[in-house]
């Protein structure tokens, strides 16, 4: 049975410091949603609120039909996977996995059978009698995963579960987590600061900043169509060019940068363009060429990327990064032109 998780207008404080500001989040039944953001953005606080280790100042938390807001943590029935594994060091791998079953009053033989079956699913059958101290990091996290899954919780939560593993193992584990989560169809909340991890594993990702969700969407949408400057910068749109519309002619819009450079943009490509906007582009989205229509710049440092050359470009309004073709080698100090590649750029509302 899968259920949805709903956080409704949650505000939370540590002492007098506000850490979450009017946060609302709905995770559909069976969905895996990640909270992504740098440290201090409130992602872990959100997880701890749902787990019951913290109480919100206001707002409600609902899991399916149940109101969790003031429910004691041990009654919430949530599977939690921690960054530091948090295995019980005094219990064998099997007893670690069986711990939750024991709390639910299951008898010894049934506990052992279920724990063994779960260990089989995570490929650790032969380690059942070992103590946690005798396991590698990846094995420990698989035990932690088995321990959380075996109680068949309606909600699974992950708190940076892969941060302590090395790169290769991280990729294997996240596939493993996705596989098990999919197989059970368990609604899941996943907290991470790693963009690749969040995007690869999630149905939807919430990018958080300063206690608020900046955008919640499918990874593809976040990556290609960020809704605001913060998210754009977060997903690698390094160039944010503030612009003002000076003329409109049918679908074609003429806009100038703060330095006075003029660009012609088509609304049939970019969608409706407001009078003041930010043109966001990855280095890929700004083509560097010797001459043509675009933003005039002076080239700075050139770096070789394999598929292209990347140039640091200086304009009176700020510095940008653009890519130039391998066929045309331009030297630092040369005057050049930056032209937006429409498919690689997007239009954002102006921050000011």
């Amino acid at each position: 049975m899968t259920v949805s998780l709903t956080l409704d207008h949650i505000t939370a404080h540590y002492g007098s410091t506000q850490v979450l500001e009017d946060l609302s989040l709905a995770i559909k039944a069976g969905e895996l949603v990640s909270l992504l953001g740098s440290s201090g953005c409130g992602k872990t606080t959100t997880l701890r609120l749902v787990a019951g280790f913290l109480e919100p100042t206001s707002g409600t938390i609902q899991l399916g039909e149940r109101d969790l807001t003031r429910l004691a943590a041990h009654k919430r029935d949530i599977g939690l996977v921690f960054q530091n594994y948090a295995l019980f060091p005094h219990l064998s791998v099997r007893d670690n996995v069986a711990f939750g079953l024991k709390q639910r009053g299951l008898g010894g033989t049934e506990r052992t059978a279920k724990a063994n079956a779960m260990l089989e699913r995570v490929g650790l059958s032969s380690f059942a009698d070992r103590m946690p101290a005798a396991l590698s990091g990846g094995q420990k996290q698989r035990v932690a995963l088995a321990r959380a899954l075996v109680i068949e919780p309606p909600l699974l939560m992950f708190d940076e579960p892969l941060s302590n593993l090395d790169a290769k193992l991280r990729v294997d584990m996240r596939v493993e987590i996705r596989r098990l989560q999919r197989a059970n169809g368990t609604t899941s909340l996943y907290v991470t600061h790693d963009q690749e991890e969040a995007f690869s594993i999630s149905d939807r990702v919430a990018i958080m900043n300063a206690g608020r969700i900046m955008q919640l969407d499918r990874p593809e949408v976040l990556y290609q169509r960020p809704a605001n400057s913060f998210v754009a910068r977060f997903v690698g749109f390094e160039n944010l060019i503030g612009m003002t519309v000076t003329a409109r002619d049918g679908e074609t819009v003429t806009a100038v940068t703060q330095a006075g450079a003029t660009l012609k943009l088509s609304q049939s490509v970019f969608g409706a363009i407001p009078d003041r906007f930010v043109l966001a582009a990855r280095p890929d989205g700004l083509a560097v060429s010797r001459e043509g229509e675009g933003i005039p710049v002076t080239l700075g440092i050139r770096t070789y990327l394999g598929r292209a050359y990347q140039y640091q470009c200086t304009t009176p309004a700020g510095d940008y990064l653009g890519n130039g073709p391998l066929t045309e080698l331009l030297d630092p100090g040369t005057a050049a032109v930056l032209t937006p590649v429409p498919e690689q750029c997007c239009i954002l509302p102006s921050d000011a």
Partner: protein, 275 residues
Amino acid sequence: MIKRLSPWILAGPASLLVLVFLILPVGSTLIATFTDAKGWAAPYAAFFNSGFRRTVLYRTIEISLITTIISVVLGFIAAYVVAQMPARLKSIMIIAAVFPLLTGVVVRSFAWLILLGKNGILNTALLSVGFISEPISMLYTEGAVIAAMVYLFVPLMILTLAGVLEGIPKDVVEAATSLGATPFAVFRQVILPLAMPGLIVGAVLVFTGSFTSYATPQLLGGERQMMMGTLLYQRAMVTFDWTGASTVAAIMVVVTILIVVLMTRLARRLNPMAG
């Protein structure tokens, strides 16, 4: 050559010190109890044939065990509370707990004389409230000795346990909670087993400390509540019965070792991780 010998050279002075001032005197003390004119085990027979001395031994074991149990319980509760506190408050509480250790054992036992005496603070207070009509004698009872010893040893217990409890990761407790463990289950199935090593160390320290104590039973127990420590002193310095005193010492060593081994065994049964 020098390199191969250097560990021995470095360990030499300390080993010599231990040999001359500990092993030799203790050894000769013990040997004296086996070379008595009346037969090799005669001093021990004499000890166990004396009802009085047997009572002293049993009383010492009893008082030490009760002291240990009370200290473990009180110390655990205090250490648990201290371990939950924010860092700044924690260090203040630890200093407060250790503060009594800065004064001597005699001073602290003497404080209990003032508290528990016929005209002591406790009696005066109870009288003035009208709880009792005449002073009750609290000194020279087993209770007085136990109270003072618990007071002496609880700081030791808190110190030992606070470190251990602080070392239990918070997320392990949270993991147990998320898996449905009630606060009591968390305590019983996670905190207690993980604190077991500290509990054993603390209990052994308290037990050996109480079992071999001298000043506290001397001041608060007097002749009536004689313990092994005070009996040893009496044998050696009052009756000049050196063999008798040596026998008391030998029995104290054996009992201490026995109880320590027993405690460790028991703790290991409760938790395979401990010890």
